[in-house]
Amino acid sequence: MIHALKMFYTTVGRKMIMALTGLFLVTFLIEHLYGNLLLYKLDGGVAFNEYSEFLVSSLFIRVVEIALFAGFLIHIIDGIYLTLYNRRARKIRYEVEHVSGLGTWFSRNMGLTGAVIFFFLVVHLKSFFVPYRIFHTDTSLAYEVASAFRSNWYAALYVVSMVILGSHLNHGFQSAFHSLGFNNIKYMKPMKTLGTLFALIMMIGFASFPIMFYFDIFGVGTDILGH
């Protein structure tokens, strides 16, 4: 076991940590999107509130929550480590670099998009997780969400952040499988397409909430807030 853990010390192993934690966080995103979609039920936020109550009260979820925070932490620390390590591998930089051979913008800027997502995460946790999960505020979570997205800057921040999240996933999702060795010449192109598709679903899915609530499309906002 100790021997197997040593594999994570190398450049290849470090990438595998990024891949494993990244894919773990992806499962969380899928679950999160499912939970959010309950906001569209037009039942006054009952289903969504019940679901969030369940998340707060379940012991199983408490354990998963710890794993989730650990996953984020490892993903972030390893990401920072690799970014700095790789930057240091070339002390003298090129005078001229041509765009054609550089690879996609998404793949080159994982550190940057990751940093933006982290900033978003801090704001996001502060708005919903901390008051609701830690301090147990009286208002329902659905009410909090619906009223928060009435704010111009808040809705805008969410939409921008979700575009950045999409960019991160566009490279990250397929790259994770590549890093773990689940790729070959035959699947290379389909994997990339699948990665982009997944990123688009996540981006459109999550960005839809601030947009729908801000413009009160189908009355999703008034259904919960009552005005």
Binding site: A4, M7, T11, V12, M16, N86, R93, R108, G181
Partner: protein
Amino acid sequence: MSETINLKLKVWRQKNTSAKGRFEIYDMPGVSTHMSFLEMMDVLNDKLIRGGQEPVAFDHDCREGICGMCSMFINGRAHGPLRGTTACQLHMRHFQDGETITIEPWRANAFPVIRDLVVDRSAFDKIIQAGGFVSVNTGNAPDANSIPVEKHKAEESFDAAACIGCGACVASCKNSSAMLFLSAKVSQLALLPQGDPERKVRVLKMVQAHDEAGFGSCTNIGACEAKCPKNISIAHIARLNKEYLRASLARD
């Protein structure tokens, strides 16, 4: 198309590994478009020698695109603007009249500059020495067909074996990673029955040698593949990762 073009060359000059380098600008009027890039460099050096100046040091050998010696970063791209081509096989007709061409050495800590455009690529040798071989007893050569190899595996192995070890992958990589080079060798041998007995030790040792040489880690960008003169696919990197995972988890 005119037969000759006038160029301006911006060339990296550096006396030795520890010296501070700088760019020098040279005028190159009347360059024949039929010349190869290295022939154009020969003309420049001839001019410099006649003028009593030091010629530009650059690596070259076969000039047929198969030895992997030439190593120039031309106008921001390893081996210049063409895909699947080494600098020696790049012709001057791919440049415009009046253009300024910036020529830099490979940039990576693992490839220190020896002089001007020449870099020390012995880090690659260390990776190969760590495991890029098969151990066989000497004696009579075995019959060629005594070990059957599936056609598609033979093909893919051969594609990986096409690597000439020029270092364009490292030079093009944002992270100065040698993963394409490393994976080409690991993949080539992992696909063949001859490479099978040592596959676990090989991948572990070669990855270790790669890291010790100071190369960065791969982030699956694919710049290496785009600039590889032999068009080696990053799918080999996926196979390397799989080999590494397998070797780490199931080591006997």
